[in-house]
Amino acid sequence: MKLSNWLDWQLVAGCIVILVAAGIGVSSPSEYVVQVITLGALYAAVATAWSIAGGMGGLLLLGIISFFGVGAYVNGILFTKYGISPWINLMLGFLVAAALGRLIAALTLRFGLSEDYFAMFTVGISQVLKHLLLNWEYAGQATGIYITIIQDDFWMMSFVSRKPYLLIGLALLLGIVVITYLIQRSELGYRLAAVRLNNQAAEALGIDSVRTKTHAIVLSAGLSGMVGAFYSQFSTFIDPAQVFSLATNFEMLLGAVLGGRLTIIGPLLGSAALKPIQDVMRGLMGGGADALYLVFYGGLLVASCLLLPKGIAQYIQNWHKRHYAKSAPAEKQALAGEIK
C-alpha cells in the first residue's frame, strides 16, 4: 500500500471521507444532517457502482436507475409480503438487478448497437419498467409500497433512529469503493481499460470485448440494485415514479461525471458534494421562491460540466502524478541499447 500509487492514495482518501461523514452523522443531534448524509452516501454508492461500466468500461450506460428501482422493489415486495429480512434482500436485489444487467448486455452488445442507441436503450428500459410496475396490481401499482417500522429489530433492518441506516449506507458505499479499487488492480481492471481505450486492439490481444463489457454492466447493475434494496428500507415508501425517476437517474450520473468517472474517489467526491448542496439549496430557496432553486441548480449543472469536464478527481490525479511519480529516464538513449 504505497501512497505514491495513485490507486492506494484514492482508497485511503475515500475511507477518510466516509469515516468523517460517519463521525459527523453519528455525533450530530439533528436527524436532518443524518438524512442528508445518508442520501448523499446512497447517491455516491450508485455513482461509484455506475463508474465500473460507465467509467472504467467506457460504456454510455445512461439509464442506471432501472437497476436501482428493481432492487428497491425486490426489497419492497419481499419484505412487506413475505417478511424476508432486508439483509437477504440486499443480496437478492443484487442478483435480480445483475440478471437484468446480463439480459440488457446480451441484447445490446450482441447487435453492436452504436453508443447513442445503447444510451437511449438503457433510458428506455427504465421507463418501460416504470410503466410495467404502474400497472402491476401485486406490486401496489401507483399506490406504491410502504414499509412500517414500529420498533428496533436488527434482523429486519428496522430502526427507529436514522443513525443505523446512516452507518449501513456508508458501509455499502465503502464496500463499493473497495470493490472498484480491487477491480482496478485486478485483471478485469486491465481488460476494461483495454476495451475502453481501443476495442479493436483489445480483441487482437485475446480479450473478448463483449464478455468484458458484460462483466462491467452486470457488476454496475448488481451493486446499484443492492443500493436500491437498502434505499427502500431507508425511505419506507416507494412508488414507480419515485424509484424509476429520470431526474434521480441524472443526478446520480452527474455526481460520477463531475467527480471524475475514471477514478475511484471521483464519483464519491462528486455525489458527496452535489447531493447535500442540492438539499440545502432547496431548503434555503425552495420554500421561499419555489422555482428560484431550479434556476440556480440548473445553472450549477451547466457550469460544473463546462468547468470540470474530466471531473475534480482527474485534476487531483494530475497533481498527484506531478507530486509523487518519479521522473522517467529520457527515452532516446534507451533505444540505443542492443538486443539481449
Binding site: R185, S186, E187, L188, Y190, R191, A193, A194, L197, N198, Q200, A201, A202, E203, A204, L205, G206, I207, D208, S209, T212, A328, P329, E331, Q333, A334, L335, G337, E338, I339, K340
Partner: protein, 244 residues
C-alpha cells in the same frame, strides 16, 4: 510433411464488388519466416485481417494447426496462438508501456495478474523497451510504438506472429535493430509472417516470399528467384519496365 501451422485455401474477400483477396492459397510451416510483398492495395493487410478474424472471407477456408478458424472471434483466434500487429499502431495511450504489454500477457484473463506482470516485464526488456517501461505509451515515438506493438503481441505467447509493416518509418539503424529483433523472435520458436515494403528487410529475413497483386497470389518461392520473376516486376513497376 506434418500438417502446416497455417493454411489458406482459396480465401476470397469482397467489399461490395471490389475483390480485395482473390482465391489466395498458401501454407506456413512452423518455425519459418515468410515474407509477403505487393504494391499498395494488393490485399496484404486484408489477408492479415481475415486470418486474425477481424474480417470473414466470403469463400475459402483458413486452417490453423489443421482446424478451421474462419468466422471465429478475433479474441478466440488470438488465444489459439495467432497474434498480429496493426499497420497503424494501436497503443493504449493512457496506460504505461509495461501495462500495455500486461494486457497481452493476460491472455484474455486466463493468466493470473502477477504472472502476467512478470512475463510482461520480461517481454518489454526483450524488445528493448525496458528503460521506458513506466512511461505512458502515448509519449513514445514511432519506433518505440512499433516495438510496443510487437511486445504486446508477443506477450500473448503466440505460435504465429503476423507483423504488418513494423519497419515502416524507421531509420536504417532502427531497421537493423528490428531485423535482429524478428530473428530473435523466430529463434524463440515463433513462426513469423512479415508484410513489408522495405525490400532490404524482407530479403534479409524471409525464407520464402509470397507476392500479392490485386488480391491474387502471383508468385511464391525462394526470395531471389521471386523478385526476378517478370510478373512481379511488372506488378511493381508497370509494363514498360518489364521489357527494358
Amino acid at each position: 510433411m506434418s500438417t502446416p501451422l497455417l493454411e489458406l485455401r482459396e480465401v476470397t474477400k469482397r467489399f461490395r464488388g471490389l475483390v480485395a483477396v482473390d482465391h489466395v492459397s498458401f501454407t506456413v510451416g512452423a518455425g519459418e519466416i515468410i515474407g509477403i510483398i505487393g504494391p499498395n492495395g494488393s490485399g496484404k493487410t486484408t489477408t492479415f485481417s481475415c486470418v486474425s478474424g477481424f474480417l470473414v472471407p466470403e469463400e475459402g477456408d483458413i486452417l490453423f494447426e489443421g482446424t478451421s478458424i474462419r468466422g471465429h472471434r478475433p479474441s478466440d483466434i488470438a488465444l489459439r496462438g495467432v497474434a498480429r500487429t496493426f499497420q497503424v499502431v494501436q497503443p493504449f495511450e493512457d496506460l504505461s508501456v509495461v501495462e500495455n504489454v500486461v494486457i497481452g500477457a493476460l491472455r484474455g484473463g486466463s493468466v493470473d495478474l502477477g504472472e502476467a506482470r512478470d512475463y510482461a516485464r520480461e517481454v518489454t526488456e526483450f524488445v528493448g523497451l525496458g528503460p521506458v517501461a513506466e512511461q505512458l505509451a502515448g509519449s513514445l515515438t514511432i519506433p518505440g510504438r512499433k516495438r510496443l506493438e510487437i511486445a504486446k503481441a508477443l506477450a500473448t505467447r503466440p505460435k504465429l506472429l503476423l507483423l504488418d509493416e513494423v519497419m515502416a518509418g524507421l531509420r536504417p539503424s532502427e531497421v537493423d535493430l528490428a531485423i535482429g529483433l524478428v530473428r530473435a523472435i523466430r529463434d524463440k520458436g515463433i513462426t513469423v509472417v512479415l508484410v513489408e515494403h522495405l525490400m532490404r528487410a524482407v530479403m534479409a529475413l524471409s525464407e520464402r516470399l509470397l507476392v500479392l497483386d490485386h488480391g491474387a497470389l502471383i508468385a511464391q518461392g525462394d526470395p531471389r528467384t521471386v523478385i526476378a520473376d517478370e510478373a512481379v516486376v511488372e506488378a511493381y513497376f508497370g509494363k514498360a519496365h518489364a521489357h527494358a
